[in-house]
Point group: C2
Chain length 162, copies 2
């Protein structure tokens, strides 16, 4: 009794989005589930609906979903008097995850600094380029949250005006 169906167009889009995610380092099944949660008309799907719509095993569904939850790419909620979990793409609350994700990206500077610290002083040009790169990433890590804030402000005032 799934009741949810996918059109051929949706199936194809899911595969294409899946490939896109795969090219960005996400395992195939995780990519397909993420795509399903964005493409499917229903914004929330249960474990079994996902399994049936993609035609995959319970174990594949289980491990992919758990990884998606761990990496914060999917979320779920429960309903009173219902044992099932309702999974959704984290795009619906991307705002929460956003600055956090970028913070993770900026983790590169830590190891870069370490590399720079151990370098010979005999290559000032190379070291200078590295230092500049590190400074730029640090600049971004400050400016980025500010940019996000500005967008939020601009947007809420827009919405209020409508």
């Amino acid at each position: 009794m799934t009741n949810v169906q996918l059109t051929q167009e949706q199936r194809e889009l899911i595969e294409r989005m899946g490939v896109f995610y795969e090219q960005h380092g996400i395992p195939p099944m995780e990519g397909r589930i993420m795509s399903l949660l964005i493409v499917c008309d229903e914004p929330e799907l249960t474990f079994d609906q996902i399994r049936e719509l993609l035609g995959i095993s319970k174990s594949a569904t289980s491990s992919a979903l758990n990884m998606l939850l761990l990496t914060q790419r999917a979320i779920y909620r429960t309903k009173p008097g219902d044992r099932k979990r309702y999974f959704a793409s984290n795009i619906v609350q991307w705002q929460e995850g956003f600055t956090e994700n970028f913070q993770k990206f900026f983790g590169v500077i830590k190891i870069m600094k370490e590399a720079l610290a151990q370098r010979t002083p005999k290559t000032p040009e190379f070291n200078g380029q590295m230092a500049e790169f590190i400074e730029f990433i640090e600049y971004l890590s400050v400016e980025f949250p500010r940019l996000y804030q500005e967008w939020c402000n601009r947007n809420t005032s827009n919405n209020n005006n409508q």
Copy 2:
């Protein structure tokens, strides 16, 4: 006749950076070569120096280097009257690649728009969140290059003052 050597500390740093890159979806050997090119005192290394310093085969060196060149993570130059290529980390010219890389990242909006376009109108809240997300990414794709420009300006004037 390599003449370049690595300290134990450098070897360990290369492995740690390699793991870091691996966690970000880069194959192990490519990660190690990228790290080597950043950690090693010599900013430029030949094919054979890389092979010897990492103790790997020619085929592994060849395919990893070619992939690094293809993905713009490494560059090389030649010297007159010398058949060898001198490979370096693309960090030394990260500025060129930067906006381009971000442009690639923004590729996500294309497929997201497609997904949004095919969605049912019956889920206005979900669709609204998606639209907002897409708008934000588009906002970034405009603001980002601007941020980069500002940093460049600020930096050149700083350098001139010194």
